[in-house]
Symmetry: D2
Subunit: 490 residues, 4 copies
């Protein structure tokens, strides 16, 4: 779930979040393409902190730099950017999963096809990736990575079409699942979203140069103009002649992932025309109507719980207070303390603000609960800081089903809401009361009268179990899924 387990006793409020696997960015026709991609990726850093990569094309050669670590750690120096010349470039940030974190898996992936070079960056997850991969290996293919994204390259390589764009579209016709893809050839920048539009992708413009990015915040960082969302099922092909739009696959109603609003997207991004910040405040306000509390203060779990807490507090008329303080200098690891130090209950990342909490009835507001491991600790932290009562409020419904579309969820039996009912969860957490926003509530907060059960407006299976596509890899052959892949920590 998280890169490293939190110290026992420590309260790492980020340890029980869902993780998305990626952010993508591309620009065409700009003299400082790679520098702009680096800045765009920096703005998308919240979507993936494991690794980052950029591929640029200078009219003659493709240049690639891929590194483990943050964008700013590796792509902030002129020397690296100078190794990425050219006016077209694509980039990628990747979330840190455990295990196969080898450099060869860092995107954009690149291949020399017969028709020319092709670089691909992918946000999302294919539900038939392993199935296709096995079929391709059976046909004589060699894989350079262990990512599902590589099948897009291999399918394009196998295609008999002469133009790379056609090969790319042929590849899209075979893949299933969630994808926001940004690809670069020696002539074109291509963007593509899956038929349901599960993962986001927007089109922008800077000085007349088209941009593709996962979120609008990556446009804002460089002062680029937002043009429009790339639509579900759309393929956007950008070259010297401008931007062309295609819908090569059968069209379906859009069904974007609700979690972009709840947790993933940055609060200042606008996703499908809605402010993420406003959406979160609306969820908090809706929750206040559904589950008010007799309390003295509303305390957000920082930082993602803040907007919902503002919404909740305002709707309830309770004061909003920073009852938990985040230490801004936290690195990924710290002293591996001895048992005796571990038992101190060290507060590396967050500490309670006693002045706010002591003697108070506290509404604690978080955006979601996954395994509940940190929820226990945060309630305990509030009590130790003197809270008289702790009323836990979650501004989204209980997560009871795993994801297969690019969100890193634990196995189902690790999900708190799959294991316990509400009262058991409350007892487990040690809270005086506990409430989640309802399914209807979250749809209301998003501006709908209610969820349309035949054609839901959002991808929401984590709450409902209603998966938007078939799950070929998962259902087909569970036992055969683990390929004997090469372990490399290069």
């Amino acid at each position: 779930m998280t890169a490293a387990p939190p110290l026992s006793g420590d309260v790492d409020l980020d340890a029980d979040r869902l993780r998305e696997e990626c952010g993508v960015f591309g620009i065409f026709g700009h003299p400082h393409a790679a520098a702009i991609v680096a800045l765009g990726l920096h703005a998308l850093q919240h979507r993936g902190q494991e690794a980052a990569g950029i591929v640029a094309y200078d009219g003659q050669r493709f240049h690639s730099e891929r590194r483990q670590g943050l964008v700013g750690d590796h792509f902030s120096s002129a020397s690296v950017i100078d190794r990425l010349p050219g006016s077209a470039a694509v980039g990628h940030v990747r979330y840190s999963t455990t295990g196969e974190t080898a450099l060869r898996n860092v995107q954009p992936l690149f291949a020399e096809l017969e028709a020319g070079g092709l670089a691909v960056a992918h946000n999302g997850n294919l539900t038939n990736g392993l199935t296709l991969r096995r079929e391709l290996i059976r046909g004589g293919a060699i894989c350079q990575s262990t990512t599902d994204t590589e099948v897009v390259l291999l399918l394009a390589a196998r295609s008999r079409r002469s133009k790379i764009v056609d090969r790319f579209v042929e590849a899209l016709a075979e893949i299933e699942g969630a994808y926001a893809l940004v690809a670069l050839t020696n002539k074109k920048l291509i963007g593509a979203r899956d038929p349901l539009g599960i993962r986001p992708l927007v089109l922008g413009e800077l000085d007349g140069c088209p941009i593709l990015a996962s979120e609008t915040c990556a446009l804002d960082i460089i002062g680029a103009k937002f043009i429009r969302d790339v639509e579900n099922g759309e393929v956007v092909v950008i070259d010297a002649d401008g931007v062309k739009s295609f819908f090569p696959l059968p069209r379906q109603p859009a069904r974007p992932c609700i979690f972009e609003y709840i947790y993933f997207a940055r609060p200042d991004s606008i996703v499908h025309g809605r402010s993420v910040y406003d959406s979160r405040k609306a969820m908090g306000a809706e929750l206040a109507r559904e589950a008010p509390a007799e309390a003295d203060v509303v305390v957000p779990v920082p930082d993602s719980g803040v907007p919902a807490a503002i919404g909740y507090a305002r709707e309830c008329g309770l004061p909003f207070e920073l009852g938990i303080i985040r230490n801004h200098y936290v690195g990924r690891t710290f002293i591996q303390p001895t048992q005796s130090i571990r038992e101190l209950g060290v507060r590396m990342k967050h500490s309670p603000n006693r002045a706010v909490v002591a003697g108070k009835r506290v509404v604690l507001l978080d955006d979601s609960i996954v395994r509940g491991t940190t929820s226990v600790k945060i309630v305990q932290m509030m009590r130790e800081a003197g809270a008289r009562e702790v009323h836990f409020r979650i501004s989204s419904p209980p997560i009871a089903y795993p994801d297969f579309y690019g969100i890193d969820t634990p196995e189902r039996d690790k999900l708190l809401a799959a294991r316990m009912d509400l009262e058991a969860m409350r007892t487990f957490m040690g809270a005086d009361s506990l409430a989640f926003l309802s399914i209807s509530g979250i749809y209301r907060a998003m501006g709908f009268a209610q969820r349309d059960p035949r054609q839901p407006q959002f991808t929401d299976h984590c709450f409902t179990g209603d998966y938007p596509t078939r799950l070929l890899d998962h259902d087909g052959e569970r036992s055969a899924q683990r390929l004997p892949l090469l372990a490399e920590a290069g």
Copy 2:
């Protein structure tokens, strides 16, 4: 003012803050002394990010590790902590000043005196340090560092007393200015505050082991108990027999630095019995009473402006909103972009939250203004995000005088409030209105009816020009101040 100038066009809201030079921490008698000091320094990281050091004593030898960089970068591994055995240890974090950032200046400093080893960590600045240093060199002394702190060691070495504690106290009798000192000998842990108590120091306890720390947040991180503030002019001597208190210098009324409440201390710290968070909210509320605004939203300049903005908003009855979003993944440097990229007005660290700001009359709340360079940019950022009006409110008085007690202030002619009157500042910033909290207001917010001009309750010369001590180095011989010191980037 800050280590590196912000990118032109970028809005680095931290670029125009005051910096304090240090934090100190010490513990006596704990089997994991160095690990606990490392944790304590981590909690004090906001007081200094340039370098950190720990000296431990294992009953036979002193062990020292000093590094440039964050505590977590160097003191988070067992291997470093293992090189610091012993049950008594002191540590230090240091702010990044330009120039002489050599390792030899990283504290704690250490010297082998005739009476035994002495390690010293210092928060503050001596106003007669250069004067003493010159005198000592004239007497045959050799300096290992270019810090004022070293004169404490040299004075103790020169003393004819046989006990180190006595030598240390003799040294205190000669120094002037601001200091919170933590020192370690082969028998004792010593804490000392200057006669006015300008810089903070608290006494705590963990498992019966006494602790000295700059702020209570360093006690909270390890679950230690707060005992009391070390008093102004007090010397605390800790050894196996417990904690003894001395007042070897003539006693004076306390006059702590008001900036600990305004900006330096962490909001969850309790300084001299007052919550820093509550003090900031009270300053915001007082400002709302002094300078209300006809507006739609109150937007804090993150992160230090948040408590004051909550106080202001509540007092005014206006909604508090996160109108500026901080990027959590910002490192110290990023691409040195070409001129054309620089002109884009890149938003590396902060971006406006358009959904909150567009079309609104915004009260922008910050805690202080130094040179005003970022204030211009942030007003401009609000306007670009669509703010209809921008009313700038500062929850402390104008800074018009430099500091000589450990706060890194620019020369007087760089201070905005020393150069302009209020209306000129408003015009410079491009705000629709501008107001600072008054001197009386800040004393009211701190719980006093008013400032006592004959004996001010706080060190507040940055606002008033009323320095609490003589300034020997500064006044005596301005031209002779620059020593021909060795430049070393070891």
Copy 3:
């Protein structure tokens, strides 16, 4: 020719050597397989200093570690070796060519084939590698590296045979040129030499575990027993049942590369039953018979010229003296000096031993001359040290033709002996006399009456232009050779 040009004026005696591209090593069945491979690669470090890699198989998974730099820099710590568990492992050292030195080119290469994993390490060069590569890409293959070695993996992947060994042999049937290959599957360790046996490969044994290595010195380092040379055209398949030998390709007479004896192999290695050290002494002695000199001392160009100089001196009855001293602490780069320092004629790597040279008639003995650039300098260095006469003797024939079998030779027009006749070379070098060993002489030194022109006993085209195979890539389509490959400095 060399990774970085020597400082103007400096005398880097290693700057004008030929470079071989690789060394290989594999072991099967040993509990410390990876540690032993690391030691073996260390002993083969003279065959390649750019990069090193090891792939191990632990019965379930393949593990790979590939690094740029020396073996000792990366594979000397327990932590790296611990990431390579298993009882079978193969490794590779690679010479530093300019340009495409990306990590993805570091061997062993690995691929997941339908039949299982396959790791391949290669010493040599394929003469139809580019031709095959283009054909494979045309068929839909994606390349992970820019090495010719990868075609072996791709051909094995494309094969319809079910067993990996059979696929591997099918791949061998398609490749041409020079290769000593060591491959690892999940069941077997495989060794293969090209039909002419151009590059060396030996079979050894440690504690009953079979070993494959480029040279016997890699057996000696671990106290392993030498069993026999792998024969030209032989495929050796090692598994739990022991060592099996196959000759799947039409058999031809062996024709090993003469340069292994002249320069590449370590002097303590035994190649095809002959001591390399003795061969070099014999070449020196033969040269003394062919081209004696009226002189006072014989001075070797260190270190590779030493054995030939011993042979020459003894045959002539002249004293052998160390007239040039090597600085053992030379790294790859040093100060980029200003022009004025460059003109000093800095002696970073070697310096003359005046006591030996001054006033003497010196025979200077080197093993080979490529471009002659350092020969000029060394003669000049001898003269500056006071040599009365300098008689240059080269213990191998003039190099007049480039290599295509894994030796990094410059373009033909850079080779001194392709540009000048003997007298012109002598004048160019500024020597009083100059002589090379004759073709007949080197065959005599190797124990043959003479070179058999119809079926030469050695691969010797660098001297004769008589290439042992067709040169498909080189002859076929010179203009089309440069693939638009991805540049990556990963």
Copy 4:
């Protein structure tokens, strides 16, 4: 004796050598002073590999760069040299002793005295350093390092003289033992040798700029001219007016250290008018006369044994052969192997050349034996390689007494020759015969009829126990010697 113990079973022929602690270099008046010092230190790298430092003076400020590691690792880049502007500079290389290898001990040491800055680099060891240090601390001094060299700075600081040179000479009057000092003030470059001239120092010149260096090889690397040796007891003061010579201390006959000829100095250096290479050959020849052997080949222990072996072989009429091959790519550490690998008897640094050794009666020639630990292994290595007989010859007398003048010798009871007689040593080593050069023999080899017992021509106490000075620190108070110094691995 050596920084890290050799792997058990490994034959590290350098593991049983004596180590000298330093080399020094200085230049005055050259526009590229620091670059030239870096080159000079590189040529002196054999005198110390632990650390290196340079201090330069640019007319206004002193600049210092001190680093752990090789000169080429840290002082080879323009960026470091650019931080050392100025036309006068001094530098130092330091041998790696265990323990106190902190950066603060890396020389040149520097202090700001009342009269100006003073940088000092020291080769040698003071025999009253600890005594002086204790006295200075008692007087109120603080030490920045744990080196004896610092007392020179402290004594100069304490001096009441107004000129730095006078203070420096006053300091010399108090110190005892061995020293070749190079010092830099803001006006002058100073060189000084102890009254006996134990450690070497030469005067050279480049482009009219005076140079001081430990050995002539440091002049040769930059093409500088050798002027003369600095004499024993001489102080050389160099400034814009040229070179002045002083003899401030009572004059004594010179008595240089014989070990410079046996092992320390580079073979191409000329020490006191004698070629080191020729001296070693003469020692080998003298040994051949004293202790010839019935044998087939003479094999040097590389690399320092080579000249003596050439001398021995020539005198005996036996062939000189490289029977032991050195691996040029050895780093400082390698795999910490498991016990089972350790038992293999890994040959990381050297391997036997079987072709030379097998079936032969071998004369093995080494320059010295300290503890004998590697001698055992090398004899065993020769036998394993098939040697029929091994006759060990040592081209210097048995080392039976420790050094206190800058050579790192083990405690007396670790010295082989202090523990055993000749026959016991032979048995211990497993050699068929063993012989050392006699005391008379080494004096003959150095051109003297015999050793003058009343006034020996060389410092030779390691063989004779006849120490050239009193040993104040050592004799005075053995028990009090260990200062409770600070351990720092900065």
